[in-house]
């Protein structure tokens, strides 16, 4: 509750700054993954690894959706997805399909498909971090 209130209190400028930070974060983690690949480093169990999906960035139904490999804590599957700069919690299943916190009982073949499904489900609403 307090988090939502605080977020609502943030001005548009602050929100834009947050989005920029998030994008910089995405770029950094994507770069780190490339370095890992160059050295042949094996990713830890449960992370996307060498066969993981590629980054994407597109506008879908008026929303900016982005995805990139990430090795930060909490990114199950080693991949981060954002909608208009806010992280969408996603998870990779054992069979390499994906779910998100917005569509958690239905599997999708790629992070892009899970992001697009979330955009449709959101009907224009903003993502708000829960945990």
């Amino acid at each position: 509750m307090s988090r939502i209130t605080r977020r609502h209190a943030l001005g548009a400028a602050a929100a834009t700054a947050l989005t920029s930070l998030a994008l910089a974060g995405l770029a950094r983690t994507a770069g780190a993954t490339s370095a890992r690949r160059a050295t042949g480093h094996q990713p830890p169990e449960g992370h996307a690894g060498h066969d993981g999906p590629q980054p994407f960035s597109e506008t879908f139904q008026g929303r900016r959706i982005e995805g990139a490999p990430s090795h930060a804590d909490g990114h199950h599957g080693g991949y981060a997805v954002r909608i208009d700069g806010e992280e969408l919690h996603v998870m990779r299943n054992a069979d390499s399909t994906w779910v998100s916190v917005i569509n958690h009982y239905e599997t999708f073949t790629t992070p892009r498909a899970v992001a697009r499904a979330a955009v449709i489900e959101l009907q224009g609403a903003r993502l708000v971090p829960l945990a």
């Binding site: 919690h89 069979d95 916190v101 917005i102 009982y105 239905e106 489900e121 009907q123 971090p129 829960l130």
Partner: protein
């Protein structure tokens, strides 16, 4: 003794008592703590890491304990209330009395998915949705939109016929009864019902919709029916197994209850009919 009944057979007074107790739990703030707990487990249960509430053998005992805790909270408000169950193989359309305005209310309106009638409509002022990932403060549903058909009785029977409780790797890729009931493999029972309801029921914060409890009470009953059909089968894994709750391991968040403690539901409640 608590007797869990088919929601279709509840009297008007029983429906009212259930709804009133749920609304009171919401008013005091306790309801939302159940939503928060469920979402925390949904987000942290992973196929290759620790998994307790979902995509693991303990999916069934975890939800049994979760529902007992919720039912006890309702009974502190009204001792006569028990959780009803929704047999979605029978009551499988939006015309079911389950979705009438005197019980759970119906599907969401086309524009924004908002449930606009019944006791849980936001306009009634008693069902604010606050534990949410998208800031929309009203209950949403899209009955039959995400997937056209609820599971059939024949599909349920095909899963009840599976003699093995669960198999390695003990996750969403497993063969066996638990994962087919949960729905990550095969004809898809439990997961599909969440998708069929839509709205918050399709998200990690699915207990925001009171139908969550009626859905899981039926899943719980199917576990009891499976036990009756396979008396020589039991919970697996029996031994301590990495990242997974074995038969005698304690389950988070309670840390004082094991799957073995949850095998016999009759210590806590019975059902109105056995088959």
């Amino acid at each position: 003794m608590t007797v869990r009944k088919n929601q279709a057979s509840l009297t008007a007074a029983e429906k009212r008592a259930f709804v009133d107790a749920v609304l009171e739990l919401k008013r005091t703030g306790r309801y939302d703590s159940f939503v928060t707990t469920h979402n925390a487990f949904i987000m942290s249960d992973t196929d290759n890491g620790d998994r307790v509430g979902h995509r693991s053998p303990s999916f069934l005992p975890w939800h049994r304990r979760f529902l007992i805790q919720f039912e006890q909270a309702l009974q502190e408000i009204d001792p006569a209330v028990a959780l009803p169950y929704w047999d979605w193989t029978v009551d499988r359309t939006v015309a079911s009395s389950l979705w009438a305005p005197d019980f759970l209310g119906g599907t969401g309106r086309a524009r924004d998915g908002q449930v606009a009638e019944g006791p849980f409509a936001v306009s009634g002022g008693r069902w604010p949705v606050t534990v949410t990932v998208d800031g929309r403060g009203f209950l949403r549903r899209a009955l039959g939109s995400g997937v056209a058909q609820l599971p059939t009785r024949a599909e349920v029977e095909s899963v009840l016929a599976m003699p093995t409780y669960d198999t390695a790797p003990w996750n969403s890729a497993s063969d066996g009864f638990r994962n087919h009931l949960e729905g990550w493999r095969g004809v898809n029972l439990h997961n599909r019902v969440h998708v069929w309801v839509g709205g918050q029921m399709a998200t990690g914060a699915s207990p925001n919709d009171p139908v969550f409890w009626l859905h899981h009470a039926f899943i719980d009953r199917l576990w009891a029916q499976w036990q009756a059909r396979h008396p020589r089968s039991t919970y697996l894994p029996a031994a301590r197994t990495r990242n997974v709750v074995g038969l005698d391991d304690v389950m988070r968040p309670w840390n004082d209850v094991t799957p073995a403690d949850m095998l016999d539901h009759t210590r806590h409640y019975t059902y109105d009919t056995t088959a």
